[in-house]
């Protein structure tokens, strides 16, 4: 801490960062829902939303207004406190993890270095895991407190699924951690700058972790899809068997909060996949100083967008797992694969670092 004005400056910058990130994230979530409907519609040879605004571009706004003005129904037999608490937990946690995600290098302004990140924790990766591991309560409690059988089944399925796939998720990133030797997200991205050199020869392949950790990435991505309850792992809200799953009894804005939390989680795991395996903001940088500062952010957003698009693509393509298939896949395939990856990576790291 320096003089008062310096502290004030840091505080002001942090508040501006939080505001900017929040606005961007909310806009992303709103238009992600539009994109999802559009892309899925085109996959199925339909038009999708077309009436509100050009190409349905104002549809998210209309949806928001609808959610706000709909009647908020609370089931008579519901456990009121927990019923209210559940969507808030999910919403808050989903937005919390974005705080440690670095979007770019940063720039210097009047002698102050301003990074494109709200806060840089030295255990940033674990912080995100901690926050997402708490996210399951939102779904489980929503299912329980509704006091209705379909939501209860949704909640039960979700807790079992999240516990199972969290292990694989954690194991998948261990390989990356062993290579980079740090838990800081910024540190992990810094380790992926430049190109791969094989015996001193520049291969012009980007120095991304995915090229040495393809199995780790595969396990991470599958587990991440399962953690965010997306197709083909969306059993907690399987419409055809559980009506709507854990949020059957929710309406109006509380339903919207679940919806936004799910999309925010999608954004978070896509950001994490970019940071851990695809070099974060690294990409070709050229031009004047302003462009040099902003291009990394653009590369980062582009990579995240590709992941989000892939999510939607999967939803339009794949059928849903059966419950026993889901459990067998998680425990008998994904978990051993993750363990093998850890073993192989540690052997390789030990072999390469030995003189």
């Amino acid at each position: 801490m320096g003089t008062f004005s310096e502290t004030g400056f840091v505080l002001a910058v942090t508040f501006i960062k939080i505001a900017v990130v929040l606005v961007i994230l909310l806009t992303t979530i709103a238009y992600l829902s539009w994109l999802e409907r559009k892309v899925v519609a085109h996959i199925q040879a339909r038009w999708g939303p077309y009436l509100v605004g050009p190409h349905g571009l104002l549809q998210p706004l209309a949806d928001g207004v609808k959610f706000l003005f709909k009647e908020d129904i609370v089931p008579l037999e519901a456990d009121r406190v927990v019923y209210w608490l559940a969507p808030f937990i999910g919403f808050t946690l989903a937005f919390l993890s974005i705080a440690v995600i670095p979007f770019g290098e940063g720039f210097t302004f009047r002698g102050h270095t301003i990074t494109f990140q709200i806060t840089d924790l030295n255990v940033g990766l674990l912080f995100i895991f901690a926050v997402t591991s708490l996210g399951v309560y939102s779904i489980a409690l929503a299912g329980w407190s509704s006091n209705s059988k379909y939501p209860l089944f949704g909640g039960l399925r979700s807790s079992a699924q999240m516990i199972s796939y969290e292990l694989a998720l954690g194991l998948a990133v261990v390989g990356v951690l062993m290579i980079s030797g740090t838990l800081s997200l910024r540190g992990i991205v810094d380790g992926q700058a430049g190109f791969w050199h094989v015996r001193g020869i520049n291969t012009y392949l980007p120095h991304w972790n995915v090229l040495v950790q393809p199995v780790g990435f595969l396990v991470y991505f599958i587990a991440a899809v399962a953690e965010t309850n997306r197709i083909p792992f969306d059993l907690p809200e399987g419409e055809t068997e559980l009506v709507g799953g854990f949020h059957t009894e929710y309406s109006s804005f509380k339903f919207a909060m679940f919806f936004m939390a799910e999309y925010a989680n999608m954004v978070t795991v896509s950001c994490l996949a970019t940071l851990l395996f695809f070099g974060g903001w690294h990409g070709p940088v050229f031009g004047p100083a302003v462009l040099r500062a902003l291009l990394p952010v653009f590369w980062f957003c582009l990579k995240v967008f590709c992941f989000l698009f892939f999510y939607i693509w999967m939803r339009g393509t794949l059928p849903r797992f059966r419950y026993d298939q889901l459990m067998a896949f998680g425990w008998k395939f994904l978990l051993p694969l993750g363990l093998l990856n850890v073993l192989a990576t540690s052997l390789a790291v030990a072999w390469l670092s030995s003189p």
Partner: protein, 163 residues
Amino acid sequence: MEALFYICAVLAVLAALNVVVQRTPVYSALSLIVVLCALAVVYLLLGAEFMAVIQVIVYAGAIMVLFVFVIMLLNAGRETPSQRSRLARWLGPPLVAALLVEVLTVVWRQFPPGSAAPAAALDAGPKAIGERLFQVYVLPFEVTSILILVAILGAVVLAKKEL
């Protein structure tokens, strides 16, 4: 910082009391989660970020999820107070008081009022903890994991008579 410590400490104690007082199992489990998270913030204030995050991941994020899962699976409602044994009623409060006094005495002797908190100088990063765990304390660590393995096997055998 100190104010945050007192807020979290009071929150932890109140939530811990609530765990015992509540009659609905889900409320007790939720209160326990609050206790664990409040303790994680205390770890954070002591400069042990790694411990704080691990506390949330392991206890609040994994073990308590299983608790909640089981409570939901059994669909346990409000528990009805049983005929409490007279022995517990008469012996309980004095024993609890004795335990409390014991703990307070130990803390008082270890850290007399006015002594600085020694935790600030301790390195509690992932590297330091890993080195301790796999070099100094490797035997207790492995023994504990075998103990847990035995417990899991026992639970499976007890729960599933025919495998």
